[in-house]
């Protein structure tokens, strides 16, 4: 296993490994195979300590990559790939729920979160570039086998990683991570499609709205029944990072490059057909960008795919983290 330079001296994690089910009513019960009896705790004892997330950095592909990690180093790896406009922050509630069983690793893609791309690197902000960097990240950490969790932009990056290292893929969880044209919501993609058909500057400028606080905020509430469950730091941190000098323009260019991903869908589908990795598709059904037909389509090339829908929008982890954690646990228990 490669050493990562940003790591503090290894030692016992200060917080105990989570044992689910210690507190009546507030934690999700384990599935039958690992069930713990529900106990009413002594009031002075805290609910079972929440496993700590460690915050680290590693150099890969000339990029200073920030990542979050939880769980034992020798546990099966779950590689979590975020999307637009969020970051590994998206996985903050998921990671503690699975850290007893998995080694969870969530990098920030270049231009997102806390990953830093030096100006001297003259980095090209395209999906091909992001994918190369994440492949280098995986190699920098010496990861030889992993389950991929892909969300939004994390999907094309994850699919490219799968194509690059097919034998490393132990399984896939796609949460609103698209690979089929039927998943592209018509209204949501209209502006981009218009630009691709006719690349006029004003159509490019129309995307700038999506790079603002109001622009990112809207997507968090879309399709969510109770707005009071959305933690405001989710979209606020996204907006903070988008507000960095030059980032909005970079993000517009990256969004315009999504065409390249759609053109590669047949390659990704060929991978699914050939390798048939265990595949869990868990989808916020009210997502306007990536719609339910995109989820169902996975079964075409991978008939064993498990497809589940949740009554929520695109950012399903913000509202349904326990359901998603439970579904992953059950899916990977086999």
């Amino acid at each position: 296993m490669a050493n990562d330079k940003g790591d503090a001296a290894p030692g016992p994690t200060r917080r105990a490994i989570l044992v689910n089910g210690g507190v009546a009513g507030s934690l999700v019960a384990l599935p039958a195979s690992g069930a713990q009896p529900m106990k009413t705790p002594h009031p002075a004892r805290t609910p079972a300590a929440i496993p700590a997330i460690r915050h680290k950095r590693v150099q890969a592909d000339g990029v200073d990559i920030f990542y979050r990690e939880a769980g034992r180093e020798d546990a099966p790896v779950l590689l979590l790939l975020h999307g637009f406009a969020n970051s590994s922050f998206y996985f903050r509630h998921l990671m503690p729920l699975l850290a007893d069983r998995f080694r969870l690793i969530a990098p920030d893609l270049p231009s997102f979160g806390f990953t830093q791309v030096p100006a001297e690197r003259h980095y090209e902000f395209t999906f091909a570039s992001l994918s190369r960097t994440i492949a280098a990240f995986v190699d920098a950490l010496g990861l030889k086998r992993y389950v991929l969790y892909v969300f939004d932009y994390g999907a094309p990056v994850g699919w490219d990683l799968a194509l690059a290292y097919p034998d490393r893929v132990a399984g896939i969880v796609s949460q609103n991570g698209n690979a089929y044209v039927e998943g592209l919501g018509e209204n949501a993609w209209a502006t981009l499609r218009a630009y691709w058909a006719n690349p006029k500057p004003e159509l490019r400028e129309a995307l700038r709205d999506r790079m603002t606080l109001d622009g990112v905020k809207a997507a968090y509430f879309q399709g969510v029944a109770d707005p009071n469950v959305i933690e405001p730091e989710s979209y606020t941190l996204d907006a903070a990072i988008l507000a960095r000098p030059g980032n909005a323009d970079l993000q517009i260019d990256l969004k315009l490059d999504y065409k390249r991903n759609i053109e590669r869908y047949p390659l990704y589908q060929a991978f699914f057909r050939k390798y048939r990795p265990p595949l869990l598709v868990i989808w916020g059904a009210n997502d306007l960008f990536f719609t339910p037909p995109g989820a169902q389509a996975f079964k075409r090339d991978n008939p064993n795919a498990v497809v589940k829908f949740l009554d929520t929008g695109h950012f399903a982890l913000e509202t349904h983290v326990e359901d998603i954690a439970a579904a992953i646990r059950q899916f990977l228990a086999k």
């Binding site: 729920l97 606020t236 941190l237």
Partner: protein, 285 residues
């Protein structure tokens, strides 16, 4: 996972954002954040208490997701902030509660306690100062501004108070294991600090901190007369509020419990578990 609700209360025209979790009929704890943060700082603590306690964590006026009127429209003083927060507790129906105070949350919470001692069931001070001996030498440029609120002395505080690096330093100074500190807290804090007009808000407030020190005797009299159950949970490497500030609580309230943790000012970033254990043991006696 703990269900936390995120909403705003209308407090006499002021919108106060707050986090809320836990059984509404459980013992209540009001969590008051400090500079330059928001209720987000309590994100790791809340799940460790919300099985049993009714937790309410507002963003102070001018901070986080609460309203931040321009400093020409609202006088940013600790008296005014405390008044809004006192009204907030009334608006949301908190009748009796323990109060956890951190940094600016301390002069806020102690004012609440002095104003309505009958509402306060316990005090938890996490690097929340009430004694002069707790003030480190780091306060010198601020004390200079209190003595002479000139433009020059005010401007001298800008790099200390408002520079992004200053916020990062506050989160990391005195922390043994940096991998435990997530960048989320200071990134969000810096984003809020960079809002137009926020610099003047914060300079006004640090100027008014003078009034808190002037009230220390009043706070101490409240501790002496009412002897609220008091727990101090203190990051011992805090560069602003020294361990002697924690020990001092025992002077007016000999029954005060004082615990130190091997960390800095933002102790919850690294020691939420330990602090939660201390709070639970203290409140369930």
């Amino acid at each position: 996972m703990t269900k936390v609700k995120f909403q705003k209360a209308a407090v006499d025209g002021f919108n106060i954002f707050f986090r809320e979790a836990g059984p509404k009929d459980g013992p209540a704890i009001l969590l008051l954040h400090g500079f330059p943060s928001s209720s987000h700082m309590f994100r790791d603590l809340i799940p460790l208490l919300a099985d049993r306690f009714h937790i309410v964590a507002p963003d102070l006026p001018g901070f986080g997701q609460s309203d931040m009127p321009d400093h020409t429209k609202f006088q940013y003083s600790f008296d005014n902030i405390a008044k809004v927060i006192e009204r907030f507790t009334e608006v949301i129906g908190l009748k009796k509660f323990a109060v956890y105070v951190f940094d600016y949350g301390a002069p806020t919470g102690f004012r609440l306690a002095v104003s309505h001692p009958e509402r306060i069931t316990a005090l938890i001070t996490q690097n929340g100062n009430a004694y002069e001996e707790g003030l480190s030498g780091g306060w010198a440029p601020i004390q200079k501004y209190w003595k002479d609120p000139s433009k020059q002395n005010r401007d001298a505080l800008r790099p200390i108070l408002l520079a992004p690096e200053a916020t990062v330093w506050q989160y990391t100074h005195g922390v043994p294991d940096m991998t435990q500190v997530s960048p989320d807290g200071y990134a969000l804090d810096n984003y809020y600090l960079a809002r137009p007009g926020m610099d003047e808000v914060q300079l006004d407030l640090i100027g008014d901190y003078k009034s808190n020190v002037a009230l220390y005797p009043t706070f101490q009299k409240y501790f002496r007369d009412h002897k609220p159950p008091t727990l101090a949970v203190w990051g011992r490497h805090d560069p602003f509020f020294l361990p002697s500030g924690a020990e001092a609580f025992k002077r007016d309230n000999p029954a005060a419990v004082v615990n130190f943790f091997d960390t800095g000012h933002f102790a919850l970033e690294t020691h939420a578990d330990e602090i939660a254990v201390a709070i639970r043991q203290f409140l369930t006696k």
